[in-house]
């Protein structure tokens, strides 16, 4: 018999794994979902190189800012899909009614989404670093900054996605809700890359990014759960 207290020994981690694997499976079977943000980022950066012109010094001056803004937009555009399919087919109801801790379920969902949107952007960063003329010794730091930053962007963006999932067209509203919250990430993220290029101390901005990431992982799921519960009342 299932008692009133859920068996929490293996259940929590089994549920976390099952959710993570199931979401990754769904994403990989719907080809394109994981490719779209990456292709978007590569195309916009190509447009920047064409627009600014072939002058390497002009490109590399603005490179860190361009990369961060484009990565931010790429992740933001993919966010609408985070809870939409689950909302439409009823999986979200089953998730919300689960006796398992929702906190972990939300962590798993955002993590899976980051793996297919944020991670490819991080892994491809050497490619567009070369396109924008970022010095070779700064490429690793750019990737590190993007690794931390894309995680923050995914978690903050997921709050917007959870609040707009019950609206038919939430796309632009997500942008309006999350862009103000993205400001610190952009400031410290591009500052980190700039520091690496110029040889300034890295620790201050790196610790800010780490702090923001930890804060986002700890606090964002609470807001996301609230948003998802609200979506069931509309």
């Amino acid at each position: 018999m299932n008692g009133s207290k859920p068996n929490t020994d293996i259940g929590i981690f089994a549920a976390f794994n099952a959710l993570l694997l199931r979401d990754l499976r769904v994403y990989f079977r719907s080809r394109g979902t994981w490719l779209n943000p990456l292709v978007f980022v590569l195309m916009v950066i190509t447009l920047f190189t064409l627009g600014i012109g072939p002058d390497p010094s002009a490109l590399s001056t603005h490179a860190s800012g361009i990369i961060w803004v484009v990565a931010l937009l790429g992740i933001m555009l993919s966010l609408d899909a985070l809870f939409r399919a689950d909302f439409d087919d009823g999986s979200l109801e089953q998730l919300l009614l689960s006796p398992q801790p929702l906190y972990l379920a939300v962590l798993a969902k955002v993590l899976a989404h980051w793996v297919i949107t944020g991670l490819p952007i991080v892994l491809a960063s050497p490619l567009y670093s070369l396109m924008l003329g970022i010095p070779a010794n700064a490429i690793a730091f750019l990737a590190l900054g993007l690794l931390l930053g894309s995680g923050i962007l995914s978690f903050i963006g997921a709050i917007g996605a959870s609040l707009t999932v019950s609206l038919r067209s939430g796309g632009l509203l997500i942008a309006l809700l999350t862009l103000p919250l993205y400001v610190p990430v952009i400031i410290f993220g591009s500052q980190f890359v700039q520091s690496a290029i110029e040889g300034w101390p890295l620790m201050p901005t790196l610790s800010m990014l780490l702090g923001l990431l930890i804060g986002a992982i700890v606090l964002a799921p609470i807001a996301i759960i609230g948003g998802l519960r609200l979506s069931q009342d509309s």
Partner: protein, 233 residues
């Protein structure tokens, strides 16, 4: 089932015996008041069939009882505790199947069930395929266990959701139109499963437009006019 206008004797009733008590529950959707001051109680082994024309608030009421919707006044008590406070207790004891099947089209029936089991039946290992295959066999999908769901018909996708009934040990089933898109034989099997569930001392709340022949079931009509005249039975 009792459907008195306000049943105050149940208010202080707290016991281990599972029971669902609705205390003057009203819910609205949009601006319309759909369910007005509904009081009823459900004890072990009892089932209730909620009837009413389209748009009379059956789904809205079921979503409130499952703990999905918070937009209601009055109180719903599960085993004596208000479900607003005791959400986790209700979640552990309840199986809800709504209009939306909660079945991912890109996954196979087996994968869909494994995901659901890991969320809702922590005592069962989601990777042990035996019990999952058994449940799929019960709903006649054993041959399609590894076929992506988007290749299955609407009725078959519905059957995946209903396969949960054969895995569930929840004490309360809340089923919203469970027989939609299910063929006659399937409906008979499901009725048998629901009767079994009640015979084990559990409860069920079902909305359906089809006639059901299950012992221990009473029906309640959500038609507003009838309700004002005394309603019930």
């Amino acid at each position: 089932m009792s459907t008195e206008a306000s049943n105050h004797s149940t208010q202080t009733h707290i016991s281990d015996e599972p029971s669902l008590v609705l205390d003057s529950v009203s819910c609205e959707r949009g601006e319309r008041l759909l369910v007005e001051c509904l009081s009823m109680s459900l004890a072990a082994g009892q089932g209730v069939r909620i009837e009413g024309p389209n748009g009379s608030g059956k789904t809205t009421l079921l979503r409130v009882l499952a703990g999905l919707s918070q937009q209601y006044s009055g109180a719903v008590r599960w085993c004596g505790e208000d479900i607003r406070q005791a959400r986790a207790v209700l979640a552990a004891d309840t199986l809800y199947i709504g209009h939306l099947a909660g079945v991912k089209a890109l996954l196979t029936p087996l994968e869909n069930l494994a995901w659901w089991v890991s969320l809702h039946i922590p005592s069962l290992d989601p990777l042990s395929k035996e019990s999952l295959l058994n449940a799929l066999t019960q709903v006649g999908l054993q041959r399609f266990a590894n076929t992506p769901c988007h290749q299955l018909s609407a009725g078959q996708q519905r059957r995946i959701a209903l396969a949960r009934l054969y895995l569930s040990q929840h004490r309360l089933w809340i089923l919203d139109e469970p027989f939609t898109a299910i063929d006659t034989d399937g409906v008979a099997l499901l009725e048998q499963r629901i009767a079994e569930h009640l015979a084990q001392g559990n409860m069920a709340i079902i909305t359906t437009h089809q006639a059901m022949q299950i012992e221990g079931f009473s029906s309640y009509c959500l038609d507003k006019v009838e309700q004002k005249e005394g309603g019930g039975q």
